[in-house]
């Protein structure tokens, strides 16, 4: 009996060897993005659950253009020519000669279908548009209420969908107005629409039979956009979040990920010869305060907090080299500050470098003092005692919260940090149910005014949209009085995205930056940089100093997909 049991165990152990050796890599690009398998996952990328593949959507539903972040100029992709006409409308002429994987030609009809579906869904872009007109087979005019940089960006970063698949629903939507009989039914029909096969207009198309929970394969689509300049025959899209894809990167089966990885994993990857690519993401964690809680509503207290927290230490502790301390403290990233503010403005800013003496002066200047044990008390005799909440599942934000708490307590505050379930935490902020909190500042978007939407909109009275009550958020009065006078900062944020006069926009952005720098409605701690793992033993892309890496690694304008669409990414042994 014992022998039989041992044989059985041996058999099980040997079965581990049954798996084939490493899959042949050949000319296959191995990248990763999480998706759901059918039937939950499907090929309607307009609906929830669609297998869009995040930034890699560009590979099967190509974008009209990509913004080159280093220069601020758009590089045309499917859009060959694009810009404002004399009437203030936006005109796009598409590249001719491309086709979808179902054989249909890529024409203006696809663009019409895509934007008519957006209208049916109520997408934001239609807030600036009154119509869309087909000029000829390759040209479309977007009839605008008023020109706007924001509308231009949304249009150009749109992923094109095939009219052969969505045209029927799009055409019916074009004939209707929101609120008409049948409008809601058509919207439901759209969300429940399930194309039988994926139809690609980009260089690669998804092979439905290969979709598993492990990965899916995309094969070259020679007739699609950029299909004729590719160096890979196939793309293998590995499925999963960070903890799932990490072993594959370590095992050299997966060669590029945009997933955020902890510093210890970074170190391990570096030891295996894997490159870590860092690009600024224009956002990061900040210290938010509830302005209804005295004395956090006092600007001197917020400035003292800014001086008392060593942001360099906070960033390194939280995210290693990818936690880069914010320097200019303008409410937008340092990169955007340098791109949009004059040198004179930058010099005039308060950088709030770590300085406990200045923090002390600010607090004593408003009548605060220390107890015998060194703890600060306000002018009412109350201890500066607060609770700081943070989303407990976010490792880097948790570290930022605990480090900031320790630094502030060392300085004489009495702060207790408390982790909150990550889905509950924003709801608490929307509902004003907090004193201090770690939430994100900025936005991964090149339009600077949009960075302020977090502080002045999302976390400041937008709770009703979250469906949890409609609280006042951080209770900050958007009508501010600063050295430049009285302004409404929320209105300024929106206005700065409108129009196409960049110098006029810069003027508004300057007001936003200076007022934020003076008032610190929320205190930015550090900017999150990507830590994309790139195995250059398998993938050849430009050296890390290249300007393309300013295109951060998530969402639109991703540098990897841009390099694929332009035929630069290639096997390392080519």
């Amino acid at each position: 009996m014992l022998k039989r049991t041992l044989y059985l165990l041996l058999l099980l152990a040997l079965s581990l060897l049954a798996f084939a050796p490493l899959q042949a890599q050949g000319d296959t690009l191995n990248v990763a993005w999480p998706y759901q398998v059918p039937p939950t996952g499907h090929f309607n990328t307009f609906a929830s659950g669609g297998i869009a593949l995040g930034q890699y959507q560009d590979l099967h539903e190509p974008p009209l253009a990509v913004l080159m972040w280093a220069t601020g100029d758009y590089a045309g992709m499917v859009a060959e020519e694009f810009g404002w006409d004399d009437d203030g409308n936006y005109v796009i002429k598409m590249v001719e000669g491309n086709s979808w994987s179902d054989g249909s030609a890529m024409t203006a009809d696809d663009l019409m279908a895509t934007f008519n579906i957006f209208r049916l869904r109520g997408d934001t872009v239609w807030a600036n548009m009154s119509g869309i007109e087909k000029v000829d087979d390759s040209t479309v005019k977007f009839v605008m209420d008023s020109p706007s940089s924001l509308a231009e960006r949304i249009i150009l970063t749109t992923n094109l969908r095939p009219a052969s698949v969505f045209g029927d629903i799009a055409d019916r939507a074009a004939m209707m107005m929101s609120g008409d009989d049948g409008w809601d039914a058509l919207l439901q029909e759209l969300t429940e629409f399930r194309p039988e096969t994926p139809v690609s207009g980009g260089p690669y198309t998804i092979l439905p039979d290969t979709i598993s929970e492990a990965n899916l394969m995309m094969e070259l689509n020679p007739g699609g956009f950029a299909g004729d300049i590719q160096h890979y025959d196939m793309v293998r899209m590995w499925n999963g979040e960070t903890e799932v894809v990490t072993p594959l990167v370590a095992n050299a089966e997966l060669h590029y990920i945009t997933h955020g990885i902890p510093p210890t994993t970074e170190e391990d990857f570096a030891n295996r010869g894997i490159d870590i690519v860092r690009s600024g993401m224009n956002n990061g964690p900040g210290l938010y305060v509830n302005h209804a809680v005295y004395p956090l509503n006092l600007v001197e207290v917020r400035q003292a907090i800014a001086y008392a927290v060593d942001r360099i230490q906070n960033g390194v502790v939280s995210l290693g080299e990818s936690g880069v301390a914010v320097e200019y403290m303008t409410g937008m990233s340092d990169g955007l500050s340098e791109a949009w503010l004059s040198d004179e403005t930058l010099d005039s800013l308060n950088y709030y470098e770590h300085d406990l003496m200045k923090a002390e002066e600010l607090l004593t200047g408003i009548g605060f003092s220390r107890n015998d044990d060194g703890t600060w008390v306000d002018d009412n005799g109350d201890t500066l005692s607060f609770e700081l909440t943070f989303p407990q599942e976010f490792a880097d934000w948790s570290a930022a919260a605990e480090n900031a708490t320790a630094q502030l307590n060392d300085f004489g505050f009495d702060i207790s940090a408390r982790g909150v379930q990550f889905q509950q935490h924003p709801q608490d902020i929307y509902a004003s149910n907090f004193e201090m909190a770690i939430r994100n500042w900025g936005l991964g978007d090149p339009i600077p005014g949009r960075s302020y939407l977090q502080a002045y909109n999302r976390y400041n009275g937008q709770g009703d949209l979250a469906g949890e009550g409609g609280g006042a958020g951080m209770n900050f009065d958007n009508n501010v009085d600063y050295s430049g006078g009285m302004v409404n900062v929320f209105d300024l944020s929106n206005q700065s995205s409108q129009g196409v006069d960049k110098s006029a926009q810069a003027g508004l952005v300057t007001q936003l930056a200076i007022s934020y720098n003076e008032l610190l409605p929320a205190i930015p701690l550090w900017e999150r940089y990507t830590n994309n793992a790139l195995n250059r033993n398998f993938i050849m892309v430009p050296d890390s100093g290249d300007s393309i890496f300013a295109n951060f690694g998530g969402g639109a304008d991703n540098w990897m997909t841009t390099l694929i669409l332009t035929g630069v990414t290639a096997p390392a042994d080519m």
Partner: protein, 368 residues
Amino acid sequence: MTDFELLDAGHGALEGLHSATSKLVPAPVENFYKNYYVRVFAQAILTIWAVLTVTFFLVRQMPGNPIDVLIEQILTQEGISYQEAYDRVAASFNFDPDATMFDQYVDYVGDLLRLDLGTSITSPGTKILDEIARFLPWTIFAVGSGFLISFVLGIVLGMMMAYYRDSVLDHTLSLVSSFFTGVPNYIWGLLIIIGPGISWKWFDVGAARGTYDPGLTPGLNAAFIGSAIEHALLPIITYVLATLGSWMLSMKSSTTGVLNDDYVNVAEARGLKDRRIITAYVGRNAMLPLFAQLSISIGFVLGSGVVIEEIFVYWGFGHYLFQAITVRDYTSVQGAVLILSSTFVFSNLFADLTYGLLDPRVRISGEK
């Protein structure tokens, strides 16, 4: 009045109440309910309904809703404004956050009575039954296989430990089983990936993922079956390693108790062969306590695969439930809990109904 008098009075009152209510209930109905099988089946249905009702309201008390969850994901991944994210998400969901909970509950129960589990909130139009049919078989196959292997091995090894108690074999197996019991299944999963997978490269970590190789057609063909078995091996091994120890120790304990019983000594004195004593006398009686444990464990089979399925990217029912909770897909959670609770309740019911068949003592005492 003493405590005993109080108890007597209470008992008398209850009998009177029972007598009074008996007169109100027609005799056939009462007799029908008195039937043991009808009663336990009715209790099982009632239990499942209670679980579903509690689940229905509890999942809606979780922080956030399906819309919030996707908004946060989009905001993080795509760097768009909150307003844009909300516009996009709200239009693409089969979910009305403004509908009252009561209305949702009435709709849900009505659909359930028509055996309709509804459609997914986060993948509008996709039937919950289709999703469950996609994921459930893989868990039954992998975790069920691991469960059976673990049980059989545990029985055999546990009996050996008891027979050769205080020997080197017993001490070694006791140590091993204690160690196996103490290490949770997710640790075993990670160890298998990191050790044999990444460090020693005994197998290809990526190729082992999934439930079968891409490109195969599911069905009764050799290629698919071979691939399915191959992909299930790692989850099965993990599950065996994580549960084997407890079966071994339970069986050893049970067998040791039986070995000291008189009827075993009598059987030995009668000169019966060891093989017959082991199977007919010791094994059968020692297994009785484990049978109840086995039946209850079957109920846990579906729910116990969550972590293993995530680690090996072997998506079965556990992954489905985990994903549904993560994205707050209420209808999917309800569908999954219905399957889970039904499995658990009916496996217990099965144990209740069949225990008497295995143990005549229970059957006879029941008849008395």
